[in-house]
Amino acid sequence: MNQATPSKEEETISQLKARFPDAIMVAKVDRPHRVTIHFEKNHLLEIAKFMHDELGFDHVKGVAGIDHPTHRKIEVLYFAGSYSKPEIQDLIVILKAELPREDATIASAVSVWPSSHFHERETFEMFGVKFEGHPDLRKLLTLDNWEGPPPMLKDIKFPEMGQR
């Protein structure tokens, strides 16, 4: 019975896989309502545009960075969701790209998802990820006189706060 009616999660994955057979490396349903998609970083804008225009994922809930110093990589996660289509409102699609730690650069999704504006600024500041094409890539949360490397990287520690 399950095969006759694929779930919303599986349907989203199959639509994305059919459209981007090369760009999507891994796509899996984590649990009901959650889908994780690993994609090749150069295809962010195309995937975002397809998801926005045709699948109805009209906003991002957040953009996260995860630092993996041992693997020399930084992961960037986009949490996409939908307000306009009631049947997929409960889904969160997590788009995940791996960037090299030395040159963490990815295209900005602001032109497709304006909601990612502040989130990308925050990830730029905290992880040093450069979002190419972002209209206003400035520091956001740290003070103006903060000098130093991006504070959320794993090898940056604040001993005065007990971080060793």
Binding site: D30, R31, H33, R34, T36, D58, H59, V60, K61, G62, A64, I66, D67, L77, F79, Y83, S84, P86, Q89, D90, I92, I94, W113, P114, S115, S116, H117, F118, H119, L140, L141, T142, L143, P151, M152, F158, M161, G162, Q163
Partner: protein
């Protein structure tokens, strides 16, 4: 003596206002003051009495919650992860605990779910009353509602203290379920308070929400259309004030919300007054949810033991906090500390709407629009 001084004083020069032809704008830094909810600065460009554009400058209360969370164990993280919005502490706590429980594979027993729901809905009423007192009442110069709402909020705070042991920062929900069962006599006290509060809501309506002074100041001010709201990805009452029917309690029910009957109030207008009314109607729905929870609460254990470590993996949990969808992603690495905690909250997402709304409006309308967003700088800065 008097004649001498009066003779010596020259007459005051006449005041003349001249307006230059070319760039007539002026950049003003508003803040970083504490406008009732946390330190926050706006750079506004004014042309006479009109605001041309605004650039929000946040981060004055940034304390690196996500970084600190990587150096504390899962339980020690709870007190400081609920600090960003202490008037909404249960929701912040719950949003963090949901993904941790998912990673650990712990299921909270039904009675625990109901107690969490009761605490969360009481917290929603308290948070909305704070908003009504400060962000709606004081910002629109209405001091009566400030006194009334703050007074009534304290009655809920006293009950929260009875349930959890603390007035504001409860740390009530560790992984596995709530810390305490409902104390003796709590149900009676809560249902009596709800009876009282329902009558008060009628009075709030008379003195504030139907008050022509409030209506004329808030209606038609700061309009966010349905399409703009969806594109900007705003959350919570701001989204529902623009006519989008979206509430995490309905789309992905957690706690006891799957068992209770309630509605999602939405308004089509998208102006500040619509956002006022969404929160007012939400308080009524919270009363409805609380009454049903008291009726339906099952007997049994309230919590299960949860391990201190979480296995490798990522999980994202979300709740509907008073300021909108609150999503937390937790990444475990087989240790007792999370590898990464990412918080995505309603205030930070509603910030996108601020430069959009405070534009081509009078300077005097700015506090009303800011208040209608219920923006909480500390929550946004984390």
């Amino acid at each position: 003596m008097t004649t001498e001084t009066t003779q010596m004083k020259p007459p005051a020069p006449p005041i003349t206002i001249t307006k230059t032809q070319e760039p007539s704008t002026l950049d003003v830094s508003v803040g970083p003051q504490h406008p009732g909810s946390g330190h926050f600065r706006m750079l506004i460009r004014v042309d006479g009495d009109y605001i041309v554009s605004v650039d929000p400058d946040i981060g004055y209360v940034h304390r690196g919650c996500e970084k600190i969370a990587e150096y504390r164990n899962y339980v020690s993280n709870i007190p400081h992860l609920e600090r960003p919005c202490i008037i909404d502490a249960i929701h912040l706590n719950w949003a963090y605990v949901l993904p941790v429980e998912e990673l650990q594979g712990v299921v909270v027993p039904p009675r625990g779910q109901y107690i969490s729901t009761i605490a969360a809905e009481m917290n929603r009423i308290m948070s909305h009353l704070y908003w009504l007192a400060i962000n709606a009442g004081v910002f629109s110069g209405h001091t009566t509602i400030f006194m009334w709402a703050f007074g009534d909020r304290d009655l809920f705070i006293e009950l929260a203290e009875m349930l959890t042991g603390a007035r504001l920062t409860y740390s009530f929900l560790p992984p596995g379920g709530p810390r305490r069962d409902l104390p003796f006599g709590f149900e009676d006290k809560l249902s009596k308070l709800l009876d009282y509060f329902e009558n008060r809501l009628v009075e709030y309506d008379h003195i504030f929400f139907s008050n022509p002074l409030v209506v004329s100041r808030a209606k038609g001010i700061g309009v966010l259309t349905r399409e703009e709201a969806m594109e900007l990805g705003v959350a919570g009452p701001v989204l529902r004030g623009s006519g989008v029917k979206y509430d995490v309690r309905k789309v992905e029910p957690y706690g006891a919300y799957g068992d209770v009957d309630f509605e999602i109030p939405t308004f089509e207008e998208g102006d500040s007054y619509a956002r006022f009314l969404v929160r007012f109607e939400e308080m009524k729905q919270s009363v409805k949810i609380l009454r049903q929870c008291l009726q339906k609460i099952p007997k049994g254990p309230i919590a299960r033991k949860a391990p201190l470590v979480a296995p490798e993996g990522e999980a994202a949990g979300r709740v509907e906090s008073s300021r909108g969808e609150y999503t937390v992603m937790v990444m475990g690495d087989n240790s007792d500390k999370p590898y990464r905690v990412k918080i995505m909250n309603g205030s930070f997402r509603n910030l996108a709407a601020l430069p959009f709304l405070i534009r081509n409006v009078h300077v005097a309308d700015m506090p009303i629009i800011y208040g209608s967003l219920d923006y909480w700088p500390v929550e946004a800065d984390r």
